[in-house]
Amino acid sequence: MKMKQFIASGVAAWFVVLSVSANAASLKLGELAPMAGVKMKNVDGKEASIADVAGKNGTLVVFTCNHCPFAKAWEGRLAEIGNAYKEKGVGVIAINANDPSAFPEDSFDVMQQRAKEKGYQFPYAVDGTSDIARAFGATRTPEAFLFNKDGKLVYHGAIDDDQDATKVTKNFLRDALDALIDGKTIPVSETKFIGCSIKYRPKA
């Protein structure tokens, strides 16, 4: 009887197939920043690319936007980290890939205001086709990608572990930046988080 049940459940298992539909894969650790030479419109009215900002110790690319409550919750922390580590030889660029026709608050004007208000000492640029975000496989805001001095991805994920700044226990991005500068192994190189979806522009 037991054997029969075992066989029966085994047979049943054959027919149970999990259907999974998740997002396309994002950039993998060790990979180079795609589309690094593509010029984007920066809030200072000039152009900036990822390659333009690359630092001697590494490069931090953060996809963010203006409208998302999550991105907003981290704006102050992004400014602090970006400004501090720029001084430590890490190139920093924030990129808004959201389609402003989906969220008017994600317009260039609001980006300019926000960068000024928050005191970003680094470019906050428009991914005008959303193709850079697509190439990175960036799906949410704010989403961080940290590259080492050789341009290889060493950290991807959240800035830290809590939307509420007073409850943060793990400073993932700062820890990765410190390790990168000290030439140490990145303690946690990939983190998952819940965030607003990036609303890509339609493909050209």
């Binding site: 149970v16 539909s21 509420d164």
Partner: protein, 145 residues
């Protein structure tokens, strides 16, 4: 529905999985959403309708808000407006632990839907919104199976 009637409790991933494995249901649909998530709000009425139509046939719907706990009043208001008369939940765990605790294939994107059969086995998982027809087809596949 008056907001006072909304029942909402904090959960961690392991609590969600425990609900999934509770006996007495033929299918369990877990949907993780947030008040700030547009596609979540759009598909929400489909899920409420699904719960209403298939509860008697053994479907249990577990709605988990991933809003920050400071947003609880807004979450309750939304649930009341949508007429969610059954108990629902709010995430009380760090993102990374919650996401991987539910399923490591989940990127953390919202909305996320997981459908389990009566034995607690995950049968469907997807990220992004779905129509009532899609929800119904996947749930019926398990209820009729």
């Amino acid at each position: 529905m008056p907001v006072e009637l909304v029942q909402i409790a904090p959960v961690k991933a392991q609590d969600v999985l425990r609900l999934v494995h509770e006996p007495g249901t033929k299918a369990v649909l877990v949907n993780v959403w947030a008040t700030w998530c547009g596609p979540c709000r759009e598909e929400f009425p489909n899920i409420v309708k699904l719960a209403r139509n298939y509860q008697a046939r053994g479907l249990r719907v577990v709605l988990v808000s991933s809003d920050d706990e400071r947003e609880l009043p807004g979450v309750k208001q939304f649930l009341a407006k949508q007429g969610v008369a059954f108990p629902s939940y709010i995430k009380a765990e760090k993102d990374q632990e919650f996401i991987n605790g539910i399923d490591s294939r989940w990127s953390g994107a919202l909305p996320a839907t997981f459908i389990y059969d009566g034995s607690g086995k995950l049968r469907h998982f997807w990220e992004g919104a779905a129509s009532y027809g899609e929800f119904k087809r996947k749930v019926l596949e398990i209820l009729n199976g």
